[in-house]
Each structure stands twice: as C-alpha cells, then as structure tokens.
C-alpha cells in the first residue's frame, strides 16, 4: 500500500469497472449453480402432487370465495372499523390534558402491542368462563372482530397520534380565535386533517389486520364462519394435501398486494398535495 511501484501496475491491471464486471459474473454463476441444484434435487412430481394438485384445488371452489374470502373480509373490515374508532379514542386519550387518561391509553397501547395477537385470541375463547353468562355480541363474528379490533386499536392509536401531532399548532389557534371550543376545534379542524394524513399508514394497518384475521382459526370456528386460513387448513387435512393452503395463500395475495400498491401510491400523492 505504501509502495507506489507495486500499487500503480496493480491498479492498471484491474480497473474498478473490470472489478465490477467480475463481481457480477460471480453472482450470476452462484445463482445458476443454486438453480441447477434445486432443479436436479427437488422431486418436482412429489412437490406438484402435494402443493399444486389440480383436483384438490378445484374442490376448494366455489366456497373459497363465497365462504372463506367473504368471511376473511368480514373479520378484517369489522376489526378495522373497531380498531379505527377505538384507536382514535385511544390517541385522543393519549394526548389528553387529563393525566389518568394518558396513563390508561399508554398502558393499553403498550400491553396490546407487546403481546402476541394469538394470545389475545386464546384469551377471548376463555371470556365466557371468566364472565359467566357473558356472550360477545355477534357470536363468532363478534369474537373475531373483537380480537382483531383490540389488537389493531393499539397500533392504530399510534398512527393517529402521529397524525394528530403533525397538525400545526396554528390550526388550533386559528380555530380557537374564531371562538370555537377546544372540542369543536378538534372535531372540525384537527381530526379531519389528521385522518387525511394517516390514510397511507392506515391502509398498511388494514393489510396487517387482514393477515391477522387468520388467527380466527384459534377461536375454534367451523362451518359457515371459517375464513381463508381455517378453510385451507381443514381441506388440507381432509385430503392430506397442502394444495388448499397454497390456494388460500394465493387468495390473500390477490387482496394484499393491490392494497400495498394503493398505500404506496397514496403515500406519494400525500407528498405532492401538502
């Protein structure tokens, strides 16, 4: 390194561009080798037989869409509406002037973000034992929506908090100096602006919630209440074949990938209008 005589020719032999080319070539070779290995050693017939069997896949129709996807959307939309409203309430409590409200909101948010969602669902199944005579309204749908809503609200609360805090202080001052009460200023001026700002992260929240709706499986649902994951799992057990789970997975993607694109589109547009 200190000797310029050896450093000079070394640089001449391997220019940065050449180095880059070699590095790229090596990467292609590794990739090709990996592909060859997979093609040679994978048992394609067995894989196709177990994961993509046409006859089994056709057994999933039409219930895949008319029952399973329909229920997934019911759980997800119901849980989303619950978490949206409850999350907004939590965010307002989190930013309240009244200290105990802040404590309650912080406690709730920390607990429900810190626990696995699955645990919440398992606890919900024990609710009737803990509170004799208590029934979650809406039956199985109600239980699923409750579980998703309780967990989703903790995340949505933090999304709303960020949005509410991003509304400039001058907005409240303008509203108050026009004679609006603090509550009126929040409802008329702050919350509508906050909601507009949180549309992209909220879309992502909905995608997360849609995937979490698979946890309804642990509520012990059956028959007309099954959603995609449970539906796929039941059929897979019945035929001792993984194809229905693959089919259920594809159905999730049909919904989640466009929503993901929508969220990033909205994100981009937000940058332009503000």
């Amino acid at each position: 390194m200190a000797d310029p005589k050896t450093a000079e020719p070394a640089r001449a032999r391997l220019s940065p561009r050449k180095k880059q080319r070699i590095s790229r070539a090596v990467q292609y070779v590794v990739l090709a080798a990996a592909l060859v290995a997979v093609v040679m050693y994978a048992d394609w017939q067995s894989l196709a037989e177990n994961f993509a069997k046409g006859e089994v896949a056709s057994e999933a129709l039409p219930e895949l869409f008319t029952v399973a996807l329909r229920n997934t959307i019911i759980y997800a939309v119901g849980g989303f509406v619950f978490s949206f409203l409850f999350g907004l309430l939590l965010a307002l409590m989190r930013l309240s002037q009244v200290r105990p409200y802040r404590w309650i909101a912080i406690l709730y948010i920390e607990i429900f973000r810190g626990l696995p969602a699955l645990l919440i669902f398992l606890l919900i199944t024990f609710l009737p034992l803990a509170l004799p005579g208590f029934q979650v309204p809406g039956g199985t749908y109600g239980q699923g929506i409750l579980g998703l809503g309780l967990v989703g609200a903790a995340y949505q609360a933090e999304v709303f908090r960020a949005g509410l805090q991003a509304v400039p202080k001058g907005q409240v001052e303008a509203a108050r100096s026009l004679g609006m009460s603090a509550t009126r200023a929040q409802i008329t001026v702050v919350i509508p602006q906050a909601i507009r700002m949180v549309i992209p992260p909220t879309t992502n929240q909905f995608v997360a919630l849609l995937k979490d709706s698979s946890l309804v499986l642990f509520l012990g649902v059956s028959g007309e209440y099954v959603e995609l994951a449970k539906f796929g799992n039941d059929l897979a057990s019945q035929y001792a074949n993984a194809t229905p789970i693959m089919v259920a997975g594809l159905t999730y993607l049909i919904v989640t990938i466009p929503l993901g694109y929508l969220a990033s589109r909205l994100e981009g547009r937000k940058g332009r209008t503000r």
């Binding site: 001058g170 907005q171 303008a174 509203a175 100096s177 026009l178 004679g179 609006m180 509508p192 602006q193």
Partner: protein, 247 residues
C-alpha cells in the same frame, strides 16, 4: 367611555424567561394602533394575550370593558368578537376558501348555511378574492391566503381586529395587496391592533404607534412623534436599523 382594549400591569413569563414586564396600554374604539419593535421584544406575545392565546402570568386584560383574564369569563364568547390574523395565515387546508369563511359562522354563531354563505361571499369580495371561493388554500398565493384569513375574521362581525405580523411571511410584491385591505378597514373605522414591521403603513394609517423593547413599552404616541421624532435612544436606534439596513 369603555376602552376597546385595556392592559393593566401585564406580565408574561415563559419558564424563567420574562417576555412582558408590566405593560399598561389602552386602545380606544376606532383607533388603529401599530406595535413595532425588534424581534423578541414581546410584541406578538402582547397581542396574543389580548385574546388569551397566551395566558398572562400577572395583570389584567379588558376587552370592551369585560375583564377577559377573569377565570369566570367564557373565553370562547369573548373571542367571537375579536378577529385575529396570523403571520402564517393558518387557513384550514382541508376546506375550500368559502368553507374557511363559513365554518365558524355556522358552528360558533349558529348562522344558517345560506346566511353564512352570503356573508362569506360579501367579505371575500371585499378583500378581492371573491373569485377564489372554490379553491383550496394551497392553490392560492400567500397574499391571497392572507386576505382570505382577513375575510374569515371579518365574517364573524368582530368588534376589533388583531394582526400579528400579517405581511411578514409574504413575498415583497404581495405585501401591498394585504396592506391595501387593512388600510380600507382602518378607514371604515375598525378598531385594530397591529404588530408590524411595515413602517410606511404604521406612519400613514396608525393613530398611535407603540414601540416595545425588552418586554416594556418604550414609547407610545402619534406616528409623527414615535417614528418622526423619537425621544428615546432605543427607539432611534431601532428605527435607524429598520429604515437604513445597509448602514
């Protein structure tokens, strides 16, 4: 006769920082009073104490004879009669221009939608942005936005108007339009308390000019006196800096 605004021994602390150190001042009905002074002199804080956007630490504020610093006073009711215009306009970006001027009329004064719209259009025409009713604030120039903000305050039929550096955030070529609107208001007899750096406006329009520095009123009198022949060294030094910035 009751004063439009009366400040008695007004103090304001932000933590240990004492921004207002005992202000006594009055504004009479129909007067235009301009408050000038270096940045950090407390002039914006003084203005914000009048409608209690800042809560004074000590002292009393009376608006049209009502003590607004009295804890039993309904401050929302008081603010209805005090129009305020901000440096940063603070229009509501999610509402059209027309909605900006209508919303408080409907929600605070309880005017019907039709009545609020008629009054909103009148005031928007008056400030020269009547053609922009359906635009969003973000689509307007700064000067247009500030005139909408003035219309929004006027639509509440206020007894007096507070202006907090209304032209400081504007491009120089847009300042004139806003000052023209303010001059027209002054001619109509509106009571105005204006924090400003526009010396020309203060000299021509104000009935009185108040020079503040370091949280106290240094000089208070007609513009010909305070700007024309200042008695205090601090006033002279400030005016020299403002009027001859290149020296």
């Amino acid at each position: 006769m009751t004063h439009a605004i009366q400040l008695q021994d007004l103090h304001k602390h932000f933590g240990k920082n004492e921004v207002l150190k005992g202000i006594d001042m009055t504004v009479e009905p129909g007067q235009v009073v301009c408050v000038i002074g270096p940045s950090g002199s407390g002039k914006s804080t003084l203005l914000r104490c009048v409608n209690l956007l800042e809560q004074p630490t000590r002292g009393k504020v009376f608006v049209q004879g009502v003590e607004v610093t009295d804890p039993d006073v309904d401050i929302d009711a008081v603010r209805r009669h005090i129009g305020m215009v901000f440096q940063q306009f603070n229009l509501f970006p999610h509402m059209t221009v027309l909605q900006n001027v209508m919303i408080a009329q409907q929600r605070v004064l309880g005017r019907s939608k039709r009545e609020a719209e008629v009054i909103a259009r009148e005031n928007l025409d008056k400030v020269g942005v009547g053609a922009k009713c359906d635009a969003l604030p973000g689509q307007l120039s700064g000067g247009q936005q500030q005139r909408v903000a003035i219309a929004r305050a006027l639509a509440m039929s206020p007894g007096l108007m507070l202006f907090d550096e209304p032209t400081s955030a504007l491009d120089p070529e847009l300042v004139g339009d806003v000052l023209t609107v303010m001059r027209k208001l002054a001619e109509e007899g509106m009571t105005m308390l204006v924090v400003t750096h526009e010396m020309g406006f203060a000299r021509e329009v104000a009935d009185r000019v108040v020079f503040m520095d370091g949280g106290v009123v240094v000089e208070d009198g007609p513009p010909a006196q305070v700007i024309g022949e200042p008695k205090q060294d601090r006033t002279r030094a400030f005016l020299h800096r403002v009027l001859h910035p290149e020296d």
